[in-house]
Structures are given as structure tokens and as C-alpha cells.
């Protein structure tokens, strides 16, 4: 039985940089207008065709970007295969947040996690505050891909998600070769032995 490989992708980024719009734009290409009422953008599932006729399924999770939920983010990216980190090219602060996310992912997420950085709102090129070259250099330095995207025009959106699909699939293939018994035949996720301790809040009282 040849089942489609499934991968979990989280979309990270500061609030209001257009994370959700990106995801929705990517999902929407497949839907007709009259079906849109069934679309909600918290999590979407979409198949991506890779070179060589390989099909992978991306489960894309949207996350709450507000600062008040920041400390809870590890719950979202637990067991994620890939992360799309979005920033707003017209907002220098949001790019600094990207760096913070990358640091956090490198220390706390799955060590094989693939990262793609999306410079969103590139339709507003005239208001650009982050130099494109700086962003690309930074992405290269952490072995991530960088895309300029626009959820409004749809530019770069498909390329971005195809790239992350290609990356997570490559990691999966590499791991499957190295440890055939560890790869889960039904999905792309690796079976990890984790110390599954119950979550214990540090402070039991809220005040």
C-alpha cells in the first residue's frame, strides 16, 4: 500500500504579519468560490506535487502570534516537521522576531525541523524596511530558504510551500535511509521516544 506521506508544518510569526492569509491563499487555489464557506484557516490540509511525481500531504497549523501566547508556542511546534516563519517587509520589528523564532526552534524543536522564511506583503515594495539581500543572507546563514511572498497577489506563495514540502520530504528520505526501522510507514513523522511528562504549571494559582 503506497500511502501519501504526511508532514506537519507550523506557521510562526508575530501577530498581524499575514500568517493566516498566506496559509489561506495557499489553500484557496484549490477551492472554488462557492466552497469557501467551509474553509477555516486554523489548520489546513493540502497535497503538494513534488518533482518525480511524488505527492506529499502538508498539514499546516496556524498559530496565535500575539505576545501573550508566546510562551505557549512550543505546544504548537512539538513534532512539527517544518516551520514557515513569516515577517512583514514593511515592519523591521517583525524581522527581529524571526531571528528569535529561529533561535527557539533550533534549541527546542525537533533538530531536523526545516525552516522557510517568508517576507510577506511584498506587494508593498515601496514601504520596504528590510533589505531583501540582508534577509536572504540571514536565511542562508541558518540553512533556511527565503521567499518574498504576497498573500494579496499570491506571488511566491506556492513556491514557498513547495519548497518546504521538498525540504521535509528530503529530511524524511534521509532519515528513512539511515534508520529504516524508525520511519513510520504511515506518515513522514519519525517515531521518537520522548519523556512524556505531564505538563505542570509552575504557578498553580493564577494570581
Amino acid at each position: 500500500m503506497d500511502s501519501v506521506k504526511e508532514f506537519k508544518i507550523v506557521t510562526l510569526g508575530e501577530g498581524r504579519v499575514g500568517k493566516t492569509s498566506l496559509t489561506l491563499k495557499f489553500a484557496r487555489n484549490e477551492f472554488h468560490d462557492n466552497e469557501i464557506s467551509t474553509v477555516q484557516a486554523n489548520f489546513i490540509q493540502k497535497d503538494v506535487q513534488l518533482d518525480g511525481g511524488i505527492q506529499v500531504r502538508l498539514n499546516i497549523w496556524d498559530t496565535a502570534g500575539q505576545e501573550r501566547f508566546r510562551a505557549l508556542a512550543p505546544n504548537y511546534y512539538r513534532q512539527a516537521n517544518g516551520a514557515v516563519i513569516a515577517y512583514d517587509i514593511t515592519d523591521a520589528g517583525s524581522f527581529n522576531k524571526v531571528k528569535a523564532w529561529v533561535k527557539e526552534l533550533q534549541s527546542q524543536a525537533d533538530k531536523d525541523i526545516s525552516i522557510v522564511i517568508a517576507g510577506n506583503k511584498c506587494d508593498r515594495e515601496s514601504e520596504r524596511q528590510i533589505s531583501a539581500q540582508d534577509a536572504i543572507d540571514y536565511a542562508n546563514s541558518i540553512n533556511a530558504a527565503h521567499f518574498n511572498s504576497s498573500a494579496k497577489s499570491g506571488k511566491g506563495v506556492n513556491e514557498l510551500y513547495t519548497e518546504i514540502a521538498r525540504r521535509v520530504y528530503a529530511v524524511h528520505q534521509k532519515n528513512a535511509k539511515a534508520n529504516p526501522q524508525l520511519s513510520n510507514s504511515r506518515g513522514g513523522r519519525r517515531v521518537r521516544v520522548t519523556n512524556d511528562e505531564p505538563q505542570k504549571p509552575k504557578n498553580k494559582n493564577c494570581c
Binding site: N42, W61, R68, N75, N205, C206
Partner: protein, 273 residues
């Protein structure tokens, strides 16, 4: 609970397809958790403690309004909050992990459909789409207002008794996502501090908490008495469930589990006759 591994050892299941075994395991999970519901739900002190902490937080945070979480109050009507809360409250009536997951998902769906309606009505004004940025704060608000009793126990129940590979891999994404959101929302409520809320200059977090505490305690003492009585009664009627047997032991002991399963097959055949 490795039904998927245990079942093929029985003669009648030896030739079954994997999908059939999966389905049977789902049914077994349903039946066993239903039969042993009280034991599984009430045996964990850690969960009970957190239930109480959550309850305390609900009381203390009674003052929270939509604006404290940066949700535009004009767009949400309190009625839909109540509907979503009622969906979530059903979680206490379901006895299987899967049904409980469905309750959480339903609650989330209502939240999303309400948000969606709002977006359609605002579409001409160019409002952007909604995602977790909008639904998570609203979910937190629904939890605070619904004050679902034993919410953490229910969460813990799903975590422990939904067969892990099923919960983490085979379940629909919706279950996984809403389950994670519930975890995040509960954690947020338990760890809430004044800097996590959008307070106005003249609002003091500690004062507000004090006020809510006073207000809720005045009305809720009678309820507490009642639930305590209930607990007492339950313990009187089920002496076998208290004391020695711990859930961890029950799950990690395969022989006992097999015994359970064979009991169930025996029960099934008797019923058929």
C-alpha cells in the same frame, strides 16, 4: 493500550485486515473506557489538583471581558459564547476519549463559524481573514465563561486513554489541532498574569481579582457543598475503585489488559446468545 497488537493474538482476529483491527480497537477503546469510566476519571490526584486550580482561576478571572483579550466586543454576541460553552460542557457526559475529542472540535467549530459570519459581514470593509490569532483568544474566553467542571481531568483522560499512535498520527488534524488548542488555552488560564491582559490605565489586576473572588464565593458555596456530597456518595458505592489500584499500573500491565479483553469477548458472546 495496545489493542492493535493484542487483538491479532486471538484466533478469530488472526486473518483480519489491519483496518478491521483498527476499527475493532476503536470499539474496544470505547467500551472499556465506558465501563471503567469512574475509575479512570477519578484516580489521578494530579488531574484533580489542576481541576481545582482551574476552578479557582475561573472564579478569580470572572471579571475578564472580551476587550481584555483584544477581541472586538462589537463583533461577538454573548449568545454564541454560551452555545460554544455548552458544546464544551458536553465533554463531561461523554465517556470515551473519541467522543470527548468531538466535543472539543464542535466547540471550536462554533467559534470559527461565528468568526466567519463576522468576516462575511465585514468583507466589504476589507477585513482580513481569521486564523489562530482570532480563534485562540476567543477559545480562552469561552473556557473562562463556560467554567466547565473537571476540564483538566477530561483533557488528561484523552491524553492517557486515547491510544497514543491514534491520537498522534491517525486521528484527523482537527482533533489534534483542537486538542492542542485546549492544552494551550488551559495553560494560559493557569498561568495568567496582569501583563498577559490588555488592562486599561484605571484597572488594577489585583483589585479586579479580589472583587471577582468575593462575588463568586458568595454565590458558589452551596454548589461546592453539593459536589462534595456527590463525591462522598460515589465513594460509598464504589469501594473497589478507591485505594490500591493505580491507573498507570493498569495500563502498563499487559496481562491484566488481556484479561479485560477476553472478558469483553465473553460478554459479547453471552449477549449474542
Amino acid at each position: 493500550m495496545l489493542f492493535e497488537e493484542t487483538l491479532p493474538k486471538y484466533p478469530c482476529w488472526r486473518s483480519a485486515k489491519y483496518s478491521e483491527i483498527e476499527e475493532a480497537s476503536e470499539v474496544l477503546e470505547f467500551m472499556i473506557t465506558k465501563e471503567k469510566y469512574d475509575l479512570l476519571m477519578n484516580s489521578d490526584n494530579f488531574a484533580k489538583e489542576l481541576d481545582e486550580s482551574l476552578m479557582r482561576c475561573y472564579q478569580n478571572l470572572d471579571f475578564i471581558e472580551l476587550r481584555h483579550l483584544d477581541i472586538n466586543p462589537a463583533s461577538i454576541d454573548q449568545n454564541s459564547i454560551a452555545v460554544a460553552g455548552n458544546q464544551l460542557r458536553m465533554i463531561g457526559k461523554c465517556t470515551s476519549p473519541r467522543d470527548k475529542l468531538i466535543c472539543i472540535s464542535n466547540c471550536f467549530r462554533i467559534i470559527n463559524s461565528k468568526l466567519y459570519e463576522e468576516i462575511i459581514s465585514n468583507a466589504h470593509q476589507g477585513t482580513s481573514v481569521h486564523g489562530a490569532d482570532d480563534s485562540l483568544p476567543l477559545f480562552v474566553y469561552v473556557l473562562l465563561k463556560a467554567k466547565v467542571p473537571k476540564l483538566f481531568s477530561n483533557f488528561y483522560f484523552i491524553k492517557n486513554y486515547r491510544y497514543k499512535p491514534r491520537r498522534e498520527y491517525r486521528d484527523p488534524v482537527e482533533f489534534k489541532y483542537t486538542f492542542t488548542s485546549l492544552k494551550i488555552a488551559m495553560k494560559f488560564i493557569l498561568e495568567i498574569k496582569s501583563n498577559k491582559l490588555h488592562l486599561q490605565a484605571d484597572e488594577n489586576f489585583k483589585e479586579l481579582v479580589k472583587l471577582s473572588k468575593k462575588k463568586t464565593q458568595a454565590t458558589q458555596t452551596s454548589v461546592e457543598d453539593k459536589s462534595f456530597r456527590e463525591l462522598e456518595l460515589r465513594e460509598m458505592f464504589s469501594p473497589a475503585y478507591t485505594g490500591e489500584i493505580s491507573v498507570g499500573h493498569f495500563i502498563s500491565n499487559p496481562q491484566e489488559l488481556e484479561l479485560f479483553i477476553s472478558d469483553y469477548f465473553a460478554l459479547l458472546t453471552i449477549k449474542k446468545k
